[in-house]
């Protein structure tokens, strides 16, 4: 029994932060990119054959993942493959994941893997994939949808949510819907048989059906051609589907249990090695309740914040409830609250910026304020 993986790099976009990068390469948690969590799930589960489907803006993703060496992968057929529009056979104008998969049929048909695990990079988990696959096989169903309870709340719109009956059987499926709290949310991770998926992709796309959640899962279930199993994921799941969620989930990492669950729950998370020195905390710095990566130089005050690698905080600067990405410099005496500084930003000395929880101020990559 062998398993291959597929990661969808940019099915979701959250505005400014993903305007020049895929969702998969969005920095998260101080030293990671979204894709790291997906690569960790798949590779910790022993998967070495995997494809990353990306439609645009994939340069930063490829820079980050590279040959996949850090995750024990090898680039090339049967190993890690980038399924970019150029690498795929036809149809650069994708409307949905089934069309994406159709364009990647060569990849799906290569090798002799029995099962495929598909995941979308917007939702982060620390998932025991072999257990999901084992339960999928035992269920005898066509598709296993990994679900998370407690996400559906009658407020958040979900891509895919399911209502389960008393014996765990699927009682209802909804797509793009503000589901009430008795539904479980899909974490956009699915297990299917490889040959089965190839057949479905050919059939559905031939009939102008291209949406994975709506056409294959919901439609197939409704007309009785697709049988659905669910797997209840108990660990931490972070839905980064909007800037506000991204901000809130980043702040949630300051909670010990959330941080442990996502970083260490089932397995460790690897990322690209940068060989930065340890962070230097200056004589007069004050750092409280913050997550700090390596390579930094901190002389000012930092509270309730996430500092990525190689961040400089000048003397007397005050940073509160901020996300500060790689190589960014906050000048002396600057005051920032509810601000997301993208990579390589320069904040001039004395500058004051203040956003709010729902609408943090975003300073774009490379800008000077």
């Amino acid at each position: 029994m062998s398993v291959m993986g597929i990661i969808f790099a940019n099915d979701v976009a959250i505005g400014e932060l993903t305007s020049k990068r895929t969702m998969a390469s969005l920095p998260f948690g101080g030293r990671y990119r979204q894709v790291d969590f997906h690569l960790a799930n798949l590779t910790a589960g022993g998967i070495r054959h995997l494809g990353i489907i990306s439609r645009y803006n994939y340069q930063s993703l490829m820079n980050h993942v590279g040959s996949g060496e850090e995750w024990g992968l090898e680039l090339g057929e049967g190993g890690l493959e980038y399924l970019t529009p150029y690498a795929m056979s036809s149809n650069a104008n994708y409307r949905g994941k089934l069309e994406n998969l159709h364009s990647a049929l060569d990849f799906l048909q290569y090798g002799d893997d029995d099962y495929i695990v598909m995941s979308d990079s917007a939702i982060l988990t620390n998932l025991d994939i072999p257990d999901v696959v084992a339960k999928h096989i035992a269920s005898g169903k066509d598709v296993t949808v990994v679900t998370k309870a407690g996400v559906a709340n009658g407020v958040k719109k979900l891509d895919l949510a399911l209502k389960l009956g008393e014996n765990g059987e699927v009682a209802d499926i909804v797509v793009d819907y503000v589901a009430p709290s008795d539904y479980v949310a899909s974490i956009d991770t699915f297990v299917v048989g490889r040959k089965w998926l190839v057949e479905q992709v050919k059939e559905y796309v031939a009939h102008n059906l291209y949406h994975l959640d709506r056409d294959l899962i919901l439609g197939g279930w409704q007309n009785g051609t697709v049988s659905i199993n669910t797997y209840a994921y108990e660990g931490v799941a972070l839905f980064n589907e909007s800037t506000a969620e991204y901000f809130a989930n980043s702040m949630a990492l300051l909670d010990k249990d959330t941080a442990y669950g996502i970083f260490r729950g089932h397995h460790d998370i690897y990322t690209k090695v940068r060989d930065r020195v340890p962070t230097y905390y200056g004589e007069n710095c004050e750092v409280e309740n913050s997550l700090v990566a390596d390579g930094g130089m901190i002389d000012g005050k930092v509270e309730d914040s996430i500092l990525f690698r190689q961040v400089t905080i000048g003397e007397d600067a005050e940073v509160e409830k901020c996300i500060i990405m790689n190589d960014t410099v906050v000048g002396e005496g600057a005051e920032l609250k509810y601000v997301i500084l993208d990579k390589n930003v320069t904040v001039r000395p004395g500058v004051k910026l203040c956003g709010d929880k729902e609408h943090p101020i975003i300073v774009k990559r490379g800008e000077t304020v």
Binding site: A259, V273, P278, Y280, E283, S290, L291
Partner: protein, 393 residues
């Protein structure tokens, strides 16, 4: 791998026990001793090689090699795992002619690996040791060696006259050529101390090693035998001056000092910036600094949880410092746990060692300013107290 002719390869002597590091090297070879929060001592010569364009490094191991072998692995962290590069661990082995066995000395270690060196047909062999902290461009030294048409070039630095008798001292002519080498002289004639970094023409070194092996009275050592013999034979030997930061970390005091010299706004040793030092990285998340933490003038590596006070210290990867704990003027190696309320001063805490709640390690230095560093071994546990200058196994 495919063996391509190399202009220069490096041989790194990493087999020494480092007995002066006491409990820190009971189960670890000196080059594998952690340094600077996320490095090990061997990262410095290895990174220097890579930064100098030397892509083939033989690493001679003997004492407690397990951890070191594991650490070096296939050389990937230093980029030494490509088609034309390698980091090859060379432990002693048995040969048909019985000219093998434990490495008898530094020269014998190289002698026993002549076959390894010859596979690359190098013009030059750089001999390095695994117990110094520094950044150096070996390629500049090789160029100097070439320009002066020398058989051997030795890196030297000026040391205070009072300390000169602890080193191998090179006496030089005005053109920097060496006319005399004295190992730890009682009355030093100069202050040019050998740094234990040699560039040899391989042919010259090869013949010197073979001759040395045939001499039953030799102690098979570079400083004691090979260098004096080559001088006596009339070979041209040059001194190469190096005035950058360089520290022998062979003792508890010097290891502690070298770590402390990383700290400050303008540190004595610039580990940051140009000529990056590479290390094997583990999958540690960022460090969490709690509301109760107070950190100043310190290095904190990744994967830590800091809830106590940290002053003028090096906190390595994966350490936990509990609420109310105080860590001052100390080197805390990877994976150490300091429980709430514990106090650690002037100490080196070995990997994965533990200081239990409210225990006290070390203290202030005495009025005579004599350093008394307390040290814990790997996995040691301090339950109540470890006095200044004491060791905990």
């Amino acid at each position: 791998m495919y063996f391509q002719k190399k202009r220069a390869i490096a041989m790194l002597l990493a087999g020494g026990q480092g007995s002066r590091l006491k409990v820190l090297t009971e189960k670890t070879a000196k080059p594998a001793v952690p340094f600077g929060g996320k490095y090990r001592i061997i990262d410095f010569p290895l990174s220097n090689c890579v930064n100098s364009g030397i892509d083939t490094v033989g690493i001679l191991t003997q004492y407690q090699p397990l951890e070191l072998n594991e650490y070096i692995g296939n050389g990937q962290p230093w980029g030494l795992n490509k088609t034309h590069s390698c980091a090859q661990v060379l432990p002693p082995y048995e040969r048909h002619d019985k000219k093998s066995g434990w490495y008898k000395g530094t020269a014998n270690a190289i002698y026993q690996n002549i076959d390894f060196i010859e596979r690359f047909d190098p013009d030059y062999v750089v001999i390095l040791s695994g117990d110094h902290i520094y950044k150096m461009d070996y390629d500049a030294m090789i160029k100097y060696h070439e320009e002066h048409n020398a058989s051997c070039t030795i890196a030297v630095r000026t040391v205070p006259l009072a300390e000169a008798s602890r080193f191998g001292i090179l006496n030089t002519n005005p053109d920097n050529s060496i006319y005399e080498f004295e190992e730890k002289p009682k009355v030093p004639k100069s202050t040019n101390a050998s740094m234990g970094i040699y560039v040899f023409n391989w042919k010259v070194l090869h013949d010197a090693l073979v001759a040395d092996e045939e001499d039953p009275n030799s102690s098979n050592d570079f400083g004691k035998n090979i260098i004096p013999n080559l001088l006596n034979a009339g070979h041209k030997m040059m001194a190469y001056n190096f005035d950058g930061y360089w520290k022998d970390v062979g003792t508890i005091d010097s290891l502690w000092e070298a770590n402390m010299e990383l700290l400050g706004k303008d540190p004595e040793f610039q580990i940051r910036g140009k000529n990056k030092i590479y290390a094997r990285n583990n999958a540690h998340p960022s460090s969490y600094i709690d509301t109760t933490a107070k950190i100043s003038n310190s290095f904190v590596a990744e994967g830590c949880e800091i809830r106590g006070t940290v002053k003028h210290s090096i906190i390595s990867v994966g350490c936990v410092i509990g609420k109310g704990a105080i860590v001052e003027d100390s080197v805390v190696m990877p994976g150490v746990v300091i429980e709430p309320g514990a106090i650690v001063r002037h100490a080196i805490l070995g990997e994965n060692s533990k200081v239990l709640s409210n225990a006290v390690v070390g203290g202030a230095f005495g009025p005579d300013d004599k350093k008394k560093i307390s040290v814990t071994a790997k996995n040691a546990v301090v339950e109540t107290v470890l006095l200044p200058g004491e060791m905990q196994s």
